[in-house]
Amino acid sequence: MGCCPIPDTKTMMLKIQDLHAEINGREILRGIDLEVNAGEVHAIMGPNGSGKSTLSMVLAGNPAYTVTGGSATLDGKDLLAMEPEVRSHEGLFLGFQYPVEIPGVSMVNFMRAAINAKREYFGEPPMPSTEFLKLMRDKRAVVELDNKLASRSVNEGFSGGEKKRNEIFQMAMLEPKLSILDETDSGLDIDALRVVANGVNKLKTPDNATIVITHYQRLLDYIRPDFVHILYKGKIVMTGGPELALELEERGYDWIKEQMS
């Protein structure tokens, strides 16, 4: 890490300390520590069942999970005390591994409700219709999302690639400070992967940050991480630069398991 001096002006965005969480009485997260600064891209890798998706669900506030210890702050505010919708307003975005289909709710109504809820939270009036539709059009272009998809029900009948593109489209609409992308690469062919990764890269600014959760190094060819963390049995057991992902690809997760045993 000595080669990359971190400037003093860095802005701490997410700070997770000793986070423990369980679902149905089973402890999944066993003391996570993680700090993410503005402008950074972090990758979290790890074998199946290590707690990657649980971490994303807990940070987004899925009520099915219970936090049993530790803390998480976003811009210094207690993230865990906020309702999921408030976390969104405060700048957190979760790109789902399995985007949820909502038959009967059109993408347009869904996004309008989301945008206007955020504006209401900040004491702003609802977005005028023409401005909203222009925003939809502009942001659709980021991930080359078809106009037809935008007029359909949320994720209903979308292909795997379309669903993931739709996640990045929503990210573009909501302009979050911190995006957690949970296995956005799963189920994508190489072309869709490129479109999705390009979308993420286009949305990157010095003021926002991204956590990419993935099994494979492949996605990291397109989205270059500043840090790579290995999650194993509910803890971050190793942190490094992009080279760690390559090493992991080469040596497999058994290497981690051996190191930890």
Binding site: P63, E83, E85, I102, A114, A117, L174
Partner: protein, 342 residues
Amino acid sequence: MSSLEGTVKRPEGGVVLAPMSQAMGMLPAGVSLPEGALATAAGNADPLLLYVPAGVRIPQPLQLVNKLQRGRADADISALTIVLGKDASAKLLVCQHTVGDVVADTKAVNDNKVEIFLAEGASFDYYDLEETSEDTVRHSLVSVHQQAGSKALLDILTLYNGDTHNECRCEFLGEGAELKLYGMAICDRQRRLRFDTHIDHLVPHCHSDELYKISASDRADCSFCGRIKVHEGAVGTEAYQSSRNLLDGTDARIQARPELEIYNDDVKCNHGCAIGQLDPMEVFYMRTRGIPEHQARLLLRQAFMADVIDAITIPALNQRLRLLVERRFAGDSDAACGACSH
């Protein structure tokens, strides 16, 4: 006494809308009503008759407002007989409202009968929209008799009610007829609602498609009982039934009983029934996009009714019902329908 009021003042093209006692003299020479229609007339004091002559297609939907009277000693009985001649077509919306001053500890008791006779090739869409009150007890029976090649759509929509028993009885008397049967009910508080449907496939090559949706919350008590009977010899029948129900809270009740009786082999039939709650992942997904929980639930409840609303063939009613359902789920307790004059 019928309390039905029509908005069509001067029907044209030989269309008759009048109490049966007066209507008989207004029918064109040589026209006689189906036997069943006369039987209905005999059984009720004086039903309202809507008669559409053969070949007449009424482009505009008709609307009737049924004012259910409070404060009567006996049940308020209203009856409507609809007769469509060969290749005639019409659409009718009947709005049900309870009127009069609320009388403590009494119910407004109502009995509504609708008989529909469709001649060969006739096409008729019937909508019953109930926006009554918790002190209303209502029994509604809609019967349809379809001749060959006729098309019927029945849509029974309950937004506000007290204790309602909605029955639909449909029979196919001629080949190649089609029936679409829809129902929607939103019940909260201690409202009760019962849907009973009975479809008789008596002849070959008819098609029935049934979709009922109920949302029950608080202490509401609802049921759906749907029977489809495919009689011997009714080959080539297609009959589909779907009952989907949304249960909210621990005290609401929904019972669903799909029944298929099939007495021959050459048929296509299926039925599906589901009772469930809003999907927590759908709610969570919407919340992660910043949509507050109550609004997410509201949008999902509206979405649940979307396919029934989409099936409405009167564009103005379609739009209006979308709004009414939204308001209904949002907790608007004002059952007054602004579109109906009181």
